[in-house]
Amino acid sequence: MKSVWARTLCRILMVLTALSPIQFAQAGMIGTEQVASAASQADRNTVLQFLGRPEVVSQLQSMGVDAARAKDRVAAMTDQEVQQLAGKIQSMPAGADDTGLIILLLVIAGVVWWVWFRR
């Protein structure tokens, strides 16, 4: 039970960190992402040190994604999004299908419908 909540908390934190990305723009200009990030300089350094675009590309490849496509996919991510994925692709939620829906609905739908109607 504890680990479920820990995971839930992790996911909320991941969503929150996804909201403050970092980037560099063209030479000489200080990039918008870099400026917009609320992270302190110390945080920024930490993130930059652990940047893993090539790492994430090769992870995607190892999981069946075509090499060139993996590169394009990672290119559309912010530095922080890359950071979230690095090393965690195997364990993150991956939306897949809707099997289980019917069973789950039968179990809980009656109860929750009743709660709403007696509001």
């Binding site: 839930t8 969503v15 290119a75 939306g95 709660v115």
Partner: protein, 336 residues
């Protein structure tokens, strides 16, 4: 099950014998409420500005192929927003064969590649409803499994306050009707994760200033400078005081080679915040790129004097400008 809503309990508190039972039931009800806190909140107080019933029936439906609810859900919102794309085209952009699914980060990233600004909503049920009421379908990540498998993307396209139901394009169902509480139970397991994707000239109704600016910056990074320019302009229409949005707009102008426009936006930003090192640096760089190095020099000197976290970038710009000035000088000498 002994679940009684709070109102019924309040009416039931007349007799002292009943009071004890009331307290007991209240505890149960409170337990239930904390189980699905956001649904309970909506049941107790419906946001007055929200319509009671909305359904975006024009939102397209792409029945998913096996395991591919990610591409199907993404295509639903992208096509609705005006992109020309099919779920099949999105499969190689978000699907991971070995995981038999799609990651949240990739859902956000792939939308940017189709000219839309993607935005992860705050983890609030009310925000889903507000987005739908504003005409924007919302992708939600649910977990329908008994344990930790069963992650599923669906698109919320409508709701009805009366029966308390959410309408979703989900899997092979064009019109999946889920009670609010059921949805909350399967949705909360993803940390209440939800996203929208809108064209750059729109702002999601629940967008928060800084989060939305970050979403635009992420969109800019994905490479659509023209779209980003529109997005920053739209942003400044809503939040004209935001300094970083000025910087972003100027950066897109600069990327597109519109140097005079970039300089004008940065001068405006410098008037708002004369001390911003980033504005000074970018203005100096832009003026230098326009060939106006003498004019650029005092700006970069002020930026250099201020120091701070961007000092290395400022130093580089300073060196570039000095180098170009020397180059100009020697050219002038040669001409004479």
């Amino acid at each position: 099950m002994g679940l009684v809503p709070p109102l019924a309990i309040a009416l039931d508190l007349q007799g002292s014998a009943r009071r004890l039972a009331g307290v007991f039931i209240l505890t149960l009800a409170a337990g239930c409420a904390s189980f699905i806190p956001q649904t309970s909140e909506l049941a107790k107080s419906w946001p007055p500005e929200l319509p009671k019933q909305v359904e975006l029936s024009e939102v397209p439906f792409f029945p998913q192929l096996e395991y591919q609810c990610g591409p199907a859900a993404l295509a639903t919102v992208l096509v609705n927003a005006g992109a020309k794309v099919t779920p099949e085209e999105l499969v190689p952009q978000v699907y991971i064969p070995e995981r038999k699914g799609s990651l949240q980060v990739e859902m956000l990233a792939a939308a940017r590649r189709h000219g839309m600004v993607s935005y992860a909503l705050a983890p609030r049920f009310e925000h889903i409803l507000r987005e739908i009421a504003a005409g924007t379908p919302v992708i939600v990540l649910q977990n329908l499994g008994v344990f930790n498998a069963g992650w599923h993307y669906a698109v919320a396209v409508g709701y009805d306050y009366g029966p308390g139901t959410l309408v979703l394009r989900s899997g092979t169902l064009q019109r999946d009707v889920l009670p609010f509480a059921t949805h909350e139970m399967v949705w909360m397991r993803s940390g209440y994760w939800a996203m929208v994707a809108v064209p750059p000239d729109r702002i999601p109704v629940t967008a928060e200033e800084n989060s939305w600016l970050n979403a635009i910056a992420a969109f800019e990074r994905a490479g659509d400078a023209q779209g980003a320019r529109v997005a920053y302009k739209t942003f400044l229409g809503r939040w004209p005081e935001n300094l970083n949005a000025h910087i972003g707009l100027a950066n897109t102008h600069h990327t597109l080679g519109e140097l005079s426009e970039a300089a004008a936006v940065l001068r405006e930003a410098a008037r708002r915040d004369p001390e911003s090192v980033v504005v000074l640096n970018n203005l100096a760089q832009t003026l230098s790129d326009l060939g106006r190095n003498e004019e650029a020099l005092p700006y970069i000197e002020r930026a250099a004097a201020a120091g701070g976290p961007f000092a290395p970038a400022v130093q580089k710009t300073h060196e570039t400008i000095l180098l170009r000035l020397r180059g100009q000088g020697s050219r002038v000498e040669r001409l004479q």
